[in-house]
């Protein structure tokens, strides 16, 4: 007998509102119909009234987790349109803050997934470690979530080279704790039973359904927008973290691997960062159209910017990683057990605030 069970928009496992109609036969989910749009804010439309330089503040507020990368992607797009040469030091600082964002976002996700499968102490332990990263962010930008440090033409704040080396050393120490944390997620028997073989997504399916980020890389596809060499990534030695299994465990393993990768990228930045200015003066107005693509913790984000030579942009279109990962989420939920639904929803690392920009 088929039954439709409404899941969300208010649900203990959901920090933000998304509604799913779960069509179940006994305990098996046979179909899922998503519904979003509970908190659509129309921020894209606001660009018609805000000065293009002021809009960086709005772009940062599209998301409460990967806020810095939203602002940076917007700046990157406008800078490409206006052919602005950002100082190399600013590129390195942007890379450092991007990677700090990635570490804290992945630690946040690890806490949420632990909470979803009922491991409360692991949840608290993950968030305790996240606080230390937020402390670094607060010390270097003044904000914990909204950094406000990116601007068109560079960055607003500098980090002294000595401080940067201290941060890299601190993160190296924290990495020991990250390793202990990762060991629980990857080796604990009860955790593995909740993640291994659950929500398998093959590589061809992941590509065909438009997956991005860890969701795609956990299915064996080594695609990472940082390979486009925006910011300072052209001067950094790194390779996308991938896994082959395509299940929830693989998605967890990819995110844990990326935490260590981010620590290593920040170490490289602390050694390679050049001196010089952190911003240049911006003159003129943007004209033309450009797609800026960067890698957020959740995956590829796209900013389409169309400008007509006035101070107001003609169009800003933001395609967030969660939006792209909804179809693959529906795919992995079809055929799953009802008890696995919260875990599967969380394995895409949903950010509805981003999606409903």
């Amino acid at each position: 007998m088929r039954t439709i069970i409404p899941f969300g928009p208010q649900h203990p496992v959901l920090p933000e509102p998304i509604h799913l109609d779960l069509v179940v036969e006994d305990e098996t989910v046979v179909d899922v119909i998503p519904s979003i749009g509970f908190i659509h804010r129309g921020l894209e439309k606001l660009v018609e009234k805000k000065d293009f330089q002021e809009f960086v503040y709005v772009a940062e507020r599209i998301c409460g987790i990967c806020s810095f990368i939203h602002g940076m992607t917007y700046c990157h797009g406008v800078e490409q349109l206006m052919k602005i040469e950002v100082p190399p030091r600013a590129h390195y600082l942007r890379t450092v803050w991007s990677e700090l964002s990635r570490i804290h976002s992945h630690l946040l996700w690890l806490g949420l997934i632990a909470d979803a499968f009922g491991f409360e102490s692991l949840f608290m332990h993950s968030w305790r470690l996240r606080e230390k990263v937020l402390d670094i962010i607060e010390a270097t930008t003044g904000g914990r979530v909204i950094f406000g440090s990116c601007k068109i033409g560079g960055v607003r704040r500098d980090i002294e080279n000595g401080t940067l080396r201290e941060i890299a050393a601190k993160l190296r120490d924290y990495a020991v704790e990250y390793k202990d944390l990762g060991n629980v997620f990857l080796n604990d028997l009860t955790v593995k039973r909740r993640l291994c073989g659950v929500g398998v997504l093959s590589g061809p399916d992941a590509l065909g359904l438009g997956s991005v980020g860890p969701m795609l890389r956990a299915s064996g596809v080594a695609q990472d927008m940082r390979l486009l060499k925006y910011a300072a990534y052209g001067g950094i030695d790194f390779a996308p973290v991938t896994a082959e299994e395509g299940d929830s465990y693989a998605r967890c393993a990819v995110r844990i691997g990326e935490i260590f990768q981010s620590v290593e990228i920040i170490r490289q930045c602390s050694e390679k960062i050049p001196g010089g200015a952190i911003e240049i003066k911006v003159t003129g107005l943007p004209e033309g159209e450009f797609y800026a693509r960067t890698e957020q913790p959740r995956g590829e984000v796209i900013y389409y910017i169309k400008a007509n030579g006035t101070k107001n942009l003609e169009r800003l279109r933001v395609r967030t990683p969660t939006f792209a990962n909804i179809p693959p989420m529906l795919k992995i939920m079809t055929g799953c057990q009802l008890a696995d639904v919260p875990v599967l929803v969380l394995t895409i690392d949903p950010c509805i605030s981003c999606t409903e920009r």
Partner: protein, 135 residues
């Protein structure tokens, strides 16, 4: 490094064939987005190993019929419902059609309204005892 921006013009009649070609060539559907200009522009973006390709359709108004590509890329249904709800675009045969209920917005097709004309004059904030001027 500046990413290449490959824009190719197409029409609603040729759209399905072009998209099927991208699917057969192993491209991933990246996004579908619209822009309000004098009419409407729709961009279909694809990626294969960081090679980024866009197809652009220009429409005189939002009553013109556009075929859905959700038969080729199933995941397109989200983007197409979004285009319908925000821009009022007339997309036919969407695989999962929410009939205008994808987004719960206060005003239907709010993004179809033309943006206000750019401000040419800027009012100078008056100070006490001075005459108000425009620059």
């Amino acid at each position: 490094m500046i990413e290449s921006q490959d824009f190719r013009e197409t029409t609603p009649e040729r759209l399905i064939g072009e998209v099927q070609g991208m699917r057969d060539a192993g491209y991933r559907l990246v996004q579908i987005g619209a822009t309000r200009t004098e009419g409407f522009e729709i961009n279909y973006s694809f990626d294969r190993n960081l090679e980024f390709v866009n197809f652009k359709i220009r429409l005189a108004d939002n009553t013109e019929v556009i075929p859905s590509i959700s038969g080729v890329y199933w995941s397109a249904f989200l983007y197409e419902n979004e285009l319908h709800d925000l821009f009022g675009l007339n997309i036919k045969n969407i695989h999962i059609d929410y009939q205008g209920h994808f987004y719960r917005v206060a005003r239907p097709a709010a993004f179809a309204e033309k943006p206000p004309p750019p401000k040419i004059k800027r009012a100078v904030k008056p100070t006490a005892g001075t005459e108000v001027k425009e620059t």
